[in-house]
Every structure is written in C-alpha cells, then in structure tokens.
C-alpha cells in the first residue's frame, strides 16, 4: 500500500505515459496562504485542452465562480505555455496569460513572448496557476523545484525594466538566464488597463491582466532557466516540421514581410487601406507634410541604430532594440515599437515623429499599460481639449495633438492615479461615460469594454465585429490568415456585411489553437496544416487541420460560456458611437457599418452555432465540440435531458 505523499514504484509504472512536449506539472501558487505546490495534470486533459488558452479556459470555467470578479482573491491568473514551448519551432518561448480581466470583467487570453515559456518548461512546469491575494507585496521566484514567494517591497514603484534590472542584480543573473515578467506602477495602482511586461519589451497587454496581478500584490514572476530535458514524441518529425514552418515564413509572399520586418510594414499598408487610426478616428488620411516614405518598414528600422532582440528559438527578423538617434532623449535604448506601438503611441494621438513615438512607446511599456487603450484614451483627451469638452483646468495642463511629452505626463498621472488621472485610469469607456455630454461621443470603445486593436476598424469591419463579439477582451478570431486553406475565399468585400460576418465566424478557432501551442502569434502565421504536423510530431497524437480548428472553437465556446455565467451577454455587443462611425475621408470614406449591425450579428451567430437571443453556444454546437458535458450548466438540466 502506498503511503500518503510517497510515490511508489508501482504507481510510477502504472502512471499514464506523458505525451511529448509536456513537463506534466502545473505550478500552483496560493498567495493568500503563501503555499506553493506542483500538481500533475492528466494526459487526457492535455489532449483536450493542449495548454495556453485551452488550459486557461479550463481553469477559469472550473475554478472561478461568477461572484469572483477580476479583483477577487479567487480569480485565477494563469501563466501558461504549450506543447511547443522549448522545442525548436520558431518563437516558442512565450506565455499566454488567461484570467478574468479588469476591463471586461470577463475572460482574457493574451500572449507575450521572450523566454518565459521556455524557462518555465525546462524548469518542469507547463503553467503557473496563481490564486489568492498576498497580505504584502511579493514576487514569485522559480528555480527548478525551488519555488519561493519573496518580499517585493524594494521593487515597488519601479517600472518593468527597472524591476528586471533589480532582480537580475539581486539574483545574480544576466542575459536570458532569468526571465522576469512584472507589472509597473500602473499595475500596482490598479489601472484598469495595466499590462504585464517581460524580457525587456514583450507585453501581455489585453484586458487589464496587470491590474489582476496588482490586486494579488504580485509584483513579478522570475524564472531561472531550468535544466530539465523536454522530450518530443518524434524529434526528427519536429525538426522537419519546424523547418517547413520556417521555410514557409521566409518564402511565402504574405509571411515574408513579417519575417523581414515584423509588423513594421503595417503603418504604410494600413494607411493605404484607410485602416490606420489617425487622431482618434477624426481622419483616415495622413496630415499634409508627413512623408509616408519615412514610415516604410526599412526606413523605420534603419532610421535607428538597431540590434536584433530575438525571442527563444526564433529566426525572424522581428523584435529589435533601437537607439534614439536625436532629440532630448538621444542615445536612450528603447524597444523597437510594434505596429501597434507606432499607431497607439503615435498616429492615434497625432504624433508623427518616429523618434518621439519610439520613446513614448517604451515609456508606456515600462509604466506598463496597454498601448491600444492608452492611445484611445490619450487621443480622446486631446480631442476633448481641442473642442473644449475637457478644460486645461480639468486636466491640469494643456494637451494637444502630437505632444509626446504631454502624453507621457498624462501617462504618469494615470499610473499614479493623480488628479484627473484617477478617472482616466478606469479606461476610456468608463471615463467617457462618467464625463458624459459631447465628450462621451468622441470615445472609442466597445459595449463589453474590450479595447479595440490599433487599427481604424471602420475600414476593417471583420475586426470591428470580432472585437465586439469576442469573449477574450480583444480580437478572438483575428484577421484572415491563408483563408483558402480552410476552403474560404482568398478575399472578400470588406464592406459587405454578409461576407464579413460569415468569414469572421468561419475563421473562429484558429487563434485559440495558436494561443494554446506555446508559440508566438507571428511565427504561427503559417498554414494550420504545418502547425498540426508539428504538434503531431511533438506530442505523438494525430492532429489534423480540422481537429485544430475544432479545438479552437471548443476553447472559444468555453470562454463564451464563462462570460455568460459572469453576466456578459448579447446586450453588450456594440461599438461606441465613434468606433462605429462613418469615416469622413480616405479609402473607407462613407462606409457605414451601423445600419448593417444587427444583420451582421444574425449572420455571425448562425455561423458560430450560438443562440442569437441568449448568446449561448447551442446544445448541438457544444456536442459537436466535445463539450456535451457543459450543456446542463449552459442550458439547464432539462435541456440536457432532451
């Protein structure tokens, strides 16, 4: 007979074999009691939930009751990898953060990259699941089986880069031996759109995950790169599939731009489509005097002294650090902005000097808020000041379009909740609604309080619909990636409500699959077929493209059911007046989504297999996704009996 706490040889022999790609354990942390423990998870659960977003969805559904709002100790903060983490597939060092987020008070799935995921996996864990609230500020230190909650008093007030510097110095590490994900002052002060940042420039930014971490009084998680081996079921197969994915990324005409320049080409491309958000959606055309040639990807990269800042196992020419070449902060090292940095810290607020945008973007990362929400908020304040809806006296200073120093001043007010910053720290929806009057009509937000991504979605109806209906506080389906692979048309009329709604519904699932692999969302810009092949080789299971999509839709249905249980229903699926307004100029001029909105929802619901009135996944949909066991919870016992 086995003794409690002792694993006998018999038990080890009879334990189910671990599939390749997994460490097999979750690291559990209860901040309230200070207890940490590791917990095995079953191979059959790995098959169903994979990791990342899938695992997080399972934890939310099973462990976070409706009364545990985002700021409740019983809320869970899941930092998860997936079966690719640590394997030689490009971009497999990241993590997916899943929690009940502060913006929507509903489910969140948001990822960041760097080295955290790989470090965690080779430390022997597939994910960290954090619960409770610490009585005093702590950070979590993981060094293999040594797991400690340590005093973080000395880290308070530090921004995210300073926090990583301090922990490197304190713990005696450098380079990528220590991966640190932390919150900045914004998270400490429960700014509702606070983010979690790590490894100097990688941000899990959506839905206020940093506020959740702050509420738990967890300043940082620091993981020393472990020494455990990761087994793949078919190592040769993994390497072959990884090579195919890399080749696809390097040579496919669509992915090649990401391979060469990351997301930098977005500024010029989206401007060409009328989808670059300029001055809080008041125009879609670059102002006179702005030379768009300086916004081409090569100019943005080569306009700075730059160095590659690759993530674990990544061969993309994507992430970079750069040196500011001129201006007040000349010589400072900053993170090369992603497209959304150029838009949120730049175009959205009328700032079109790349050097100033680059500087401001890093200030936002260091203070640690979502750059999209900051852009909508700052742009709203700028427009309201211009129109006299928010006075200089209200704010404490004059803030005009394109004022980088002023934007940073606003950022610091928000971080510390000083003056009007206390209201603005709630995000633009709440601030605008409380302000009321004509100011409210200028704000860009959704009924669920999901922050729109850094685009002008009035020219991308697919993303507007996705943002309003999605269950993760951000895009749930995302833009089409090789839609022909799934039997869908290569292109649709982006202003045809039927085509758009059908496509958004049909593509749903891919994103959740990608977010469950432990891989970067950009290195998965390849064909699902190749990802499924790599997953099969890693785990030893047979994965197909259809199974991958079905898996993703399963995860989406769990998130939706979770949100409905939290009271987030169909009545919140709408864009704000400005967000759904008609562009006054540019390529999308005159395109009006509002008159089509109800019809688009009808088509989308039909395509998703969700009930239009209640928003619930239909029983037959749940059955088809392997979620028949959820029917009683979603529809009641009687429906289950039918």
């Amino acid at each position: 007979m086995a003794h409690a706490g002792v694993v006998t040889a018999t038990e080890e022999r009879t334990a189910p074999a671990l599939p390749g790609g997994y460490a097999g354990r979750l690291l559990r942390v209860d901040l309230g009691s200070g207890r940490t423990w590791s917990e095995p998870w079953a191979p059959e659960d790995m098959r169903v939930y994979l990791g990342g977003a899938g695992l997080g969805a399972k934890v939310l559904w099973e462990e976070v009751p409706p009364e545990a709002h985002w700021d409740h100790p019983e809320n869970r903060l899941v930092l998860a990898t997936g079966p690719f983490a640590g394997l030689p597939v490009w971009g497999t060092g990241g993590l997916t953060v899943v929690t009940r987020g502060a913006m929507t008070d509903g489910a969140t799935s948001t990822q960041a990259n760097g080295f955290f995921g790989a470090n965690l996996k080779v430390s022997g864990y597939d994910a960290i699941v954090i619960q409770g609230q610490a009585p005093a500020w702590v950070y979590l230190y993981v060094h293999g089986d040594q797991v400690e909650l340590r005093d973080a008093t000395g880290l308070l007030g530090k921004d995210t880069w300073e926090t990583q510097d301090a922990l490197n110095a304190e713990l005696g590490y450098s380079g990528h031996m220590l991966s640190v994900y932390s919150i900045g002052p914004a998270g400490e002060n429960l700014v509702r759109f606070a983010a979690i940042q790590g490894d100097y420039g990688h941000v899990a930014s959506k839905n206020g995950v940093g506020a959740v971490m702050g509420k738990k009084r967890l300043k940082a998680v620091a993981i020393v790169r472990g020494t455990r081996a990761i087994r793949a079921a078919d190592p040769r197969g993994v390497i072959a599939a990884a090579d195919e994915i890399a080749y696809d990324l390097k040579t496919n005409p669509a992915a090649r731009t990401l391979y060469e320049y990351g997301t930098l080409p977005g500024v010029v491309n989206l401007h060409g489509l009328g989808a670059l958000p300029i001055k809080n959606y008041t125009t879609s055309v670059a102002p006179p005097g702005v030379d768009m040639k300086q916004w081409e990807a090569p100019a943005l990269r080569n306009g700075f002294d730059h160095r590659g800042h690759q993530c674990s196992a990544c061969g993309m020419h994507h992430c970079h650090m750069q040196v500011l070449p001129s201006g007040k902060y000349k010589g400072q090292i900053v993170d090369e902005p992603e497209y959304e940095g150029w838009s949120g810290a730049g175009w959205t607020i009328g700032l079109t000097d790349p050097v100033a945008v680059s500087w401001l973007n890093t200030q936002i990362d260091r203070a640690c808020v979502d750059v999209n929400e900051f852009g909508w908020l700052c742009g709203w304040v700028m427009e309201c000041q211009e129109k006299g809806y928010i006075t200089e006296r209200d704010l404490g200073f004059r803030l005009t379009w394109g004022d980088a120093e002023g934007a940073n001043r606003l950022l610091q007010m928000i971080n510390r909740r000083e003056g009007m910053g206390d209201l603005l720290a709630e995000g633009v929806k709440i601030a605008a609604e409380r302000r009321g009057g004509p100011a409210a009509e200028c704000a860009i937000y959704t009924g669920k309080n999901a922050s729109p991504r850094g685009h002008d979605h009035r020219a991308r109806w697919d993303e507007l619909l996705d943002t309003c209906t999605g269950s993760t506080g951000t895009l749930e389906t995302g833009p089409p990636v090789f839609p022909t692979e799934l039997g869908l048309p290569a292109r649709i009329n982006p202003f045809d409500p039927d085509q758009v709604a059908r496509q958004v519904a049909a593509l749903n699932g891919r994103r959740h699959f990608e977010d469950s692999l432990g891989a970067c969302i950009f290195t998965t810009r390849t064909h699902v077929e190749l990802l499924a092949r790599a997953l099969s080789a890693a785990t030893g299971w047979e994965w197909t493209r259809d199974e991958a999509m079905r898996f993703g839709r399963r995860v989406g249905a769990i998130f939706r059911a979770f949100n409905l249980r939290c009271g987030i229903g169909t009545d919140r699926e709408w864009p704000s007046k400005r967000y759904g307004s008609v562009p006054v100029d540019g390529p999308a001029q005159g395109q009006a989504i509002e008159k089509h909105w109800d019809h688009m929802l009808d088509v989308w619901y039909e395509g998703m297999g969700y009930d239009r009135r209640t928003g619930r996944p239909k029983p037959e949909t749940l059955e088809a996704l392997g979620l028949g066991w959820m029917i009683p919870a979603v529809w009641g016992q009687e429906a289950a009996r039918k």
């Binding site: 496919n252 005409p253 491309n269 089409p480």
Partner: protein, 113 residues
Amino acid sequence: VTTRSAPPIAVLVEVLSWVNKFVGGPGTGEIALTEEVERGATVRAVLRQVTDRHPELERALWDPDRPRELGDNIEVMVNNAVLGVSHDLDSELLNGDRITLLGQYMGGAWWDA
C-alpha cells in the same frame, strides 16, 4: 474603307512597399507602371499584362490552384478602393484609372511584443 480602332487607354499600376520586390524594386516606396491597354480592358486583363512580364509577381498575386483567382497575399485596390467596392476583377477600366497593389497585412493585431 478603312476602320480606325479605338485608341488605347492608359492605366497606372502602383506597386507599393514590399510588393515591389516582385517587380524588381527595393521593397520600399512605390513603383509606378503605366500600362497601355485596349479600351474596355478589365482589371484582370491589366493585372495579367503586368504579371506576364514579372513571373515573381505572378506567383505572388494569383492563386496557384485557381489561376483565374487572386491568391491570399496581395491586396488590390482600384482608384483607392479595395476590390469588391466599386470594381471586381472583371470590371472595365477607364483611361487614367489607377490600380494599387499592396501587401496583405497579417501582423500586429493582437500582441504588443
């Protein structure tokens, strides 16, 4: 009796940013091609005329499995509007119309990195 055929028309094809690598450009800025075509020529005919001269662009623009259809990779605009709004592939063009080829944008949509 002599018949005079209608004079040709000129259509401007702008190849922007990284797409212009496929027509021998640097992958930045704009390369403008003036295409002389018969009156009544369609968007498809003009694009075919260009891709016949540039095999790399042909591979990138058209669907390899369905050669009459566009592939996943490049966005096509006519007079500043994406295909489907005012023109489709079989719409006739007028003298002075402008076709723009722009890279499809797949990135930056959900992660600040």
